[in-house]
């Protein structure tokens, strides 16, 4: 709207346009940069101070939260003091600016910076062409991580989604639905590190000897069934499956909740009609339930596949990637933080990005379909 007015007044208009643009950029940066500077100084001070921890924690929380809030108020007040047209032009940037700047700094620009670094050597100085990518796609270690991630994606996702769907369908027919669901769902609140400890205890192994009693649940069960105790986490390639069990334990609840709410959206008449026509429960499930919730299922599968692609914590805590359990994200961590090779780490990060590009494209397409009017 304003653009046409600006244009009609010639040179002066161009100048005004420039000033507006400059003002918008400035105001976008104003809040985050000032906030950052003020908070930063205080935090350097806090980090180096020796006040009691609880005081530092309280000051940190109040200072951080209030600081951000106050700077919005101040910059908004500042913009409102300007002449009306200026307020109208600049105010949206008071609101969206900080978010855009932070997202740009943390996610958008790093894509390019990591891409650049992936063509450089380990300390990010010399250009070395595609060497890091040759490593990322051909090295034995990397090939092992690809195999394992594929295992996580296929086995982990199919069990999580399959079990989640089964529980959603079955519990839908019982009176105790909420209890069952709460139990399956609860692991979602637990950290992967915590879950790692829980399952490490299940798999723990002491070995054979007089008077030694296994304290790990799995080994005790195996012994009770007449088998032999095993060091489950150091038995490649099966140890990957034992780690994947943890992911299934954590993610089934998610798949269950989302599919369950989709199942509840199926019109009852549809299922009734099928049953009257003589369809068995199994037929009704595959012919009606599954097609009806297809969209939801795809979303759930995509989410869990992305999750298993970036999986890090479980492997880090349980095996550190040893004994043939390494995954891409752990190799990324090792390259960057253990071997100090930013070039290779960046190339691995780009590999992860490439793997999610289909999802990004799909998200954008869906978004554009939904909001033609944007």
């Amino acid at each position: 709207m304003q653009k046409s007015q600006d244009k009609s007044s010639g040179n002066a208009g161009i100048l005004a346009g420039l000033v507006v643009a400059l003002g918008r950029i400035l105001i976008s940066f104003f809040v985050p940069v000032i906030t950052f500077l003020v908070l930063w100084q205080v935090f350097i001070f806090l980090r180096d101070s020796s006040a009691p921890q609880i005081v530092i924690v309280l000051v940190a929380i109040i200072w951080g939260v209030a600081g951000v809030a106050i700077l919005y108020v101040v910059s908004n007040w500042f913009v409102e003091q300007l002449p009306d047209p200026w307020t109208r032009r600049l105010q949206p940037f008071v609101y969206i600016g900080p978010a855009v700047v932070i997202m740009g700094w943390y996610l958008a620009i790093p894509v390019l910076r990591t891409l650049v670094l992936s063509f450089k050597d380990e300390i990010g100085v010399k250009w070395i062409g595609f060497d890091n990518y040759i490593f990322a796609f051909t090295d034995r270690i990397m090939l092992e991580t690809f195999r394992n991630n594929l295992l996580w994606m296929i086995v982990g996702t199919s069990f999580s989604v399959g079990l989640g769907l089964l529980i959603a369908v079955l519990s839908d027919r019982t009176r105790f639905e909420s209890i069952y669901k709460a139990i399956i769902f609860t692991p979602m609140a637990i950290s992967f590190v915590g879950a790692g400890v829980i399952w490490k205890f299940v798999y723990t192994y002491k070995g054979e000897g007089v008077g030694i009693e296994e304290i790990g649940l799995l080994n005790a069960v195996v012994l009770a069934l007449g088998g032999q105790s095993q060091p489950w986490l150091s038995l490649p390639p099966w140890n990957n499956l034992f780690l994947i069990v943890i992911m299934v334990w954590l993610q089934t609840g998610y798949a269950m909740v989302v599919t369950s709410s989709a199942i509840k959206g199926i019109p009852l008449e549809l299922l009734e009609a099928a049953r009257i026509d003589g369809a068995t429960e199994v037929q009704a499930f595959f012919r009606i339930t599954i097609p009806y919730i297809k969209g939801t299922l795809i979303t759930v599968i995509t989410t869990i596949v992305i999750f298993s692609l970036k999986l890090f914590d479980i492997v880090r805590v349980m095996t550190g990637g040893n004994n043939g359990t390494n995954v891409i994200a752990n190799e990324f961590y090792l390259q960057r933080f253990t071997y100090g090779n930013t070039g290779r780490a960046s190339a691995i990060a780009i590999v992860l990005l490439i793997a999610v590009i289909p999802v990004i494209v799909n998200n954008l397409r869906e978004f554009n379909k939904e909001r033609r009017a944007f």
């Binding site: 918008r24 935090f43 350097i44 980090r47 921890q53 940190a60 929380i61 951080g64 939260v65 809030a69 908004n76 032009r89 609101y95 969206i96 900080p98 978010a99 855009v100 932070i102 997202m103 700094w105 943390y106 996610l107 790093p110 894509v111 910076r113 990591t114 990010g124 529980i167 079955l170 519990s171 027919r173 019982t174 105790f176 069952y180 609140a189 950290s191 915590g194 790692g196 400890v197 829980i198 205890f201 009693e213 649940l217 998610y254 909740v257 989302v258 914590d313 805590v317 994200a329 933080f337 930013t342 780490a345 960046s346 691995i348 992860l352 990005l353 990004i360 998200n363 954008l364 554009n368």
Partner: protein, 367 residues
């Protein structure tokens, strides 16, 4: 006819409930084991499985027989009314009255242990909270290095890690919500050039893996001296949480009734007033959904804490993981530590489950 239909229904209901109970049982068992273990004495933990707190039969030592020098242990021996060789005794010999004789150790000990099978009830060995006290307080370790300097290292105190986690999680939840709420308001209610393009960028970076950012952001943090500060990790969590927060809140805010807001504009309310007095209160359900989502995500995060905070301000996941690394077999610390780390998220989770589920359903696309 009706009866058999009823029967069939009952049977299928039993089948369904039976399957679900079995699955739920398997689901709970690992956590139950860790919980019970966290309450057991560290020696008990190591010598017997946690399930021994349930009633079971156990061999209890009742007597110790030391053979005197006159007995030739290379020949079959007469003990407690039976005759047995050393090899047999090593494998344990059961007496007619049910007692069991077992040779202790090697041949030279000349010791035989007599055990009797007894039923042991619930919690035969006392439970204790000591593990929790140990893991919460930790101990300070002092030592002198080669240069003669005294070095004090903090032990794995989960107590201070718990405080640090709060200091990380509370602002790292509120700050992104605040920033995202302003941005979502801007995107959904104000018009400005580039609005569609910028929002498309937000959608595009929704699922970008955060590994992409770690290397360059760490370079920046090193330059800015931000490593190990709360501010650094708040900003990181804000940056990584913002796309989803903005997206979810935008979806919610753009469904708010237009006429209500137009009426407010007519009355001369400023954008800021409309945002704080109208939009924010109306968006509470969406804000709550995202808040609990983000809180659990931050509290349970390990990677970002590992990279940006590290050892300087240990959070619970970091502290727990380092106990795993350093004392992998100290189950009394590990199990109680795991429970301490779960306490707050579980409480939040159960109190606000409704909002959490709504958030899950609204957007399952986080990067």
């Amino acid at each position: 006819m009706a009866a058999s239909y009823k029967n069939q229904k009952l049977r299928s209901s039993l089948g369904v409930n039976g399957t679900l109970i079995l699955i739920c049982f398997i689901w709970i068992l690992p956590t139950l084991g860790v919980f019970i273990t966290s309450l057991r004495n560290s020696q008990d933990i190591f010598s017997s499985g946690w399930w021994t707190v349930l009633p079971h039969k156990e061999n209890i030592q009742t007597q110790e027989i030391i053979l005197d020098a006159s007995v030739n242990i290379d020949e079959p021996m007469q003990i407690e009314g039976i005759t047995a060789t050393f090899e047999e005794l090593r494998q344990s010999v059961t007496l007619p009255d049910g007692r069991m004789l077992t040779w202790y150790g090697n041949k030279r000990t000349r010791t035989i242990i007599v055990t009797e099978e007894h039923w042991v009830g619930f919690f035969s060995k006392p439970l204790t909270l000591d593990n929790y006290i140990d893991v919460l307080t930790g101990k300070e370790i002092r030592f002198t290095d080669a240069g003669g300097n005294e070095i004090i290292r903090k032990g794995n105190s989960l107590g201070s890690a718990f405080l640090n986690s709060i200091a990380v999680a509370v602002p790292a939840t509120i700050i992104p919500i605040l920033i995202a709420a302003f941005a979502a308001f801007g995107f959904s209610w104000l018009s400005f050039p580039g609005r569609g393009l910028i929002f498309t960028m937000v959608v595009a970076i929704l699922v970008v893996p955060l590994q992409i950012s770690l290397v360059p952001i760490l370079q920046d943090y090193t330059k800015l001296n931000l490593n190990g500060t709360f501010l650094g990790i708040w900003l990181a969590h804000t940056g990584f949480g913002l796309p989803l927060a903005t997206y979810l809140l935008f979806n919610y805010m753009s469904t708010l009734p237009r006429d209500l807001l137009e009426a407010a504009y007519m009355d001369g309310a400023s954008n800021f007033t409309i945002f704080t007095k109208l939009i924010l209160p109306l968006s509470v359900p969406a804000l709550a959904s995202f808040a609990i989502f983000q809180f659990l995500w931050v509290w349970n995060d390990y990677l970002i804490a590992l990279v940006f905070l590290g050892d300087k301000n240990r959070v619970v996941t970091y502290a727990l993981a380092s106990i795993v690394g350093e004392k992998g077999q100290d189950w009394h610390l590990l199990t109680s530590g795991a429970f301490v780390s779960m306490l707050l998220p579980l409480a939040v989770f159960f109190a606000l489950q409704r909002f959490f589920v709504r958030g899950l359903l609204a957007g399952s696309v986080k990067g």
